[in-house]
């Protein structure tokens, strides 16, 4: 059995708006990532994907506040730690985070190598510049970046190159978990592929032990991660292996998401894209029952009153719906036959 790298129990965090309203953007989320595995998080914009990523780091600053739950990284509970301690001893070493526009983090007046020196010396004072240079060069060679990049200024690099440089820098301290929040969405397809290839190489070479990948592009998620978790309105609605999540989704929301996939492959033109009507609920006043009930085709009156717990479907698969697996599959089959007519 592989080591558990990241374990989260019932994590709840909230935003406090300037009118003192509470917005529960991450609501009782539990997850587990094992060594050498990657977890993908999918969902539409505003469903709490990025807030979950920020909450996992344990580094809270207003308007984001920690409410309850445990974050355990490799056996060490970091929830409720002092933000300064988190920054010194957790970020970078235990958990690294790549935001969407990571390439903007580079200082335009500094060479890349000086940036790397700053990063390493902040966490480890007794290391020489020669060691840092060797370490950086070795890492850059592993991921296929030319070593000359180290001596360049950010303006001399292209967008894709900058993004890859920042990713390389973020794993210099060998973090146990890497959280990548849409690392490739601002790039064109070729640069995107390079970034993905690099992340895979980093996993294989052992620079990172596990990865959480966040995006709304499902074909990408399917190709990158082992498991996929679907989030809706701050809650997990389904978790399954990538293959199952894309080809055999259980929760009606996941089903809707998978119906909007566009790939340049044979057969795409024959299927009609399905869109989910409506908008996600306002999290200031989340609905009492199932949060998806308003937009769900299969909703029953009781869905709107009783809150729905996560159900186990075997093989580490969970989903949040009052209908059983068979009932859901029957409903989807009925719908498919109606569409065919």
């Amino acid at each position: 059995m592989a080591n558990t790298m990241l374990e989260v129990h019932e994590l709840t965090t909230k935003y406090v708006t300037r009118f003192r309203e509470d917005v529960y953007a991450v609501d009782h989320v539990s997850l587990k990532v094992e060594e050498g595995r990657s977890l993908g998080i999918a969902g539409e914009s505003g469903c709490g994907k990025s807030t979950l990523a920020l909450s996992l780091m344990g580094y809270y600053f207003p308007p984001l506040h920690y409410m309850s739950g445990d974050i355990i990284i490799d056996g060490r509970n970091i929830s409720g730690m002092n933000p300064d301690d988190v920054r010194k001893s957790i970020l970078g070493r235990e958990i690294a985070y790549i935001p969407q526009a990571a390439m903007n983090a580079l200082n335009p007046t500094q060479k890349i190598i000086h940036f790397i020196e700053d990063v390493i010396q902040e966490h480890d004072m007794y290391v020489t510049k020669k060691d840092i240079y060797d370490r950086a060069r070795k890492l850059f060679e592993t991921v296929g970046l030319p070593a000359e990049v180290l001596e360049k200024y950010p303006v001399e690099l292209s967008g894709g190159m900058k993004q890859r440089t920042v990713i390389a820098v973020s794993v210099l301290l060998l973090p146990k978990v890497l959280i990548a929040d849409e690392p490739s969405s601002a790039l064109d397809v070729t640069s995107q592929k390079m970034v993905i290839k690099m992340l895979k190489q980093l996993m294989e070479a052992g620079f990172i032990s596990s990865m959480i990948f966040i995006t709304h592009e499902l074909p990408l998620l399917y190709n990158v991660t082992d498991d996929i978790m679907v989030m809706y309105a701050g809650q997990i609605v389904e978790k399954a292996a990538a293959q199952e999540a894309v080809f055999d989704p259980l929760h009606p929301y996941s089903k809707g998401l998978m119906g909007s996939i566009i790939v340049p492959e044979k057969g795409l033109r024959d299927v009609k894209l399905t869109a989910i009507p409506g908008v996600p609920p306002n999290l200031k006043k989340p609905p009492m029952g199932c949060r998806f009930a308003e937009r769900c085709k299969l909703a029953k009156p009781e869905c709107r009153v009783t809150s729905v717990p996560l159900r186990d479907a075997g093989n580490g698969r969970t989903y949040r719906c009052i209908l059983s697996e068979n009932e859901l599959r029957e409903a989807y089959a009925r719908e498919a036959s109606q569409n065919a007519k």
Partner: protein, 270 residues
């Protein structure tokens, strides 16, 4: 059959050069485009391949360095503001960024009223105008009663993009130029916007030019696909031909680099 249809818009040797001397950049390089009435055409290329420059020239927003645009077989004349407005009755656009597409000082009512006035409905009774605006809004699943007295920036990105489609519904142009209409919105709303565009196309029988970097999207919506690289068309043909049996190495690379779900995604080629 496209050959039996009438040519709606065509260009001959359309070129745009930015700067001069050492900074001379050829953005669009002698492009010949033929658009038949009622078809959906996609122009696909990476960023910096000149797609948007071409779109702006077709719209008449920037002048071309060389070459001509022909509208329904006649050379386009946009020498004066009046002639330009006449031309824009026939060609309309949806841009990538819905947030910067609207005049921030105009309320939504006046955005839609302008469209009715442009179609010559200035002297219609007010009740008739409201009816038309309500119809347009309900076509894109918006409620006109909720939108009156609001400014465009009070809407979400998806709603703004749908309001843009409502404008097109009122204007009923011959050609619609959609410049990356779905790149700023997420995958779920993308399906809604595409469905609405395609339904609108059926309803008023317009020609659509789709400009996108997403080759999957181009394949889904279009009849004909043009692949653009460094300001030139490197390959064009029917969507099935170009996407399923690409001939040019550039097209093959573009298709290979997109993540897929049925075929294996080969990471070793970069």
């Amino acid at each position: 059959m496209p050959s039996e249809k009438q040519i709606c818009l065509s260009t001959s040797g359309l070129t745009k050069i930015y700067g001069f001397g050492a900074h001379r950049t050829v953005a669009v390089d002698h492009v010949d485009l033929k658009l038949y009435e009622g078809e959906v055409v996609s122009i696909v290329g990476e960023s910096g391949s000149g797609k948007t420059t071409l779109a702006k020239m077709l719209l008449g927003l920037i002048s071309s360095s060389e070459g001509e645009v022909y509208f329904q077989g006649i050379k386009r004349d946009i020498s004066s503001q009046k002639k330009k407005q006449e031309y824009w009755k026939n060609i309309q656009a949806i841009f990538q960024d819905p947030f910067s597409s609207y005049n921030i000082f105009n309320k939504i009512d006046s955005v839609l009223l302008d469209c009715i006035h442009m179609r010559g409905g200035r002297n219609l009774p007010h009740a008739k105008k409201v009816e038309m605006m309500t119809e347009a809004c309900s076509f894109v699943n918006l409620k006109f009663e909720e939108l009156t007295n609001k400014y465009p920036f009070e809407l979400s990105g998806g709603q703004m993009q749908r309001l843009m489609i409502a404008r097109i519904f009122l204007l009923k142009p011959k050609i619609l130029l959609a410049d990356e209409p779905t790149s700023m919105i997420d995958a779920c709303s993308r399906a809604t916007i595409l469905d609405m565009l395609m339904q609108l196309r059926k309803e008023i029988g317009m020609t659509v030019i789709f400009i996108t970097h997403d080759i999957g999207l181009a394949y889904y919506v279009s009849d004909t696909v043009y692949i653009m690289e460094h300001g030139r068309f490197v390959e064009f043909g029917s969507a099935d031909e170009v996407i399923l049996q690409p001939k040019e190495p550039y097209t093959q690379r573009l298709i290979n680099d997109v993540p897929k779900i049925y075929e294996e995604w080969d990471l070793s080629t970069v």
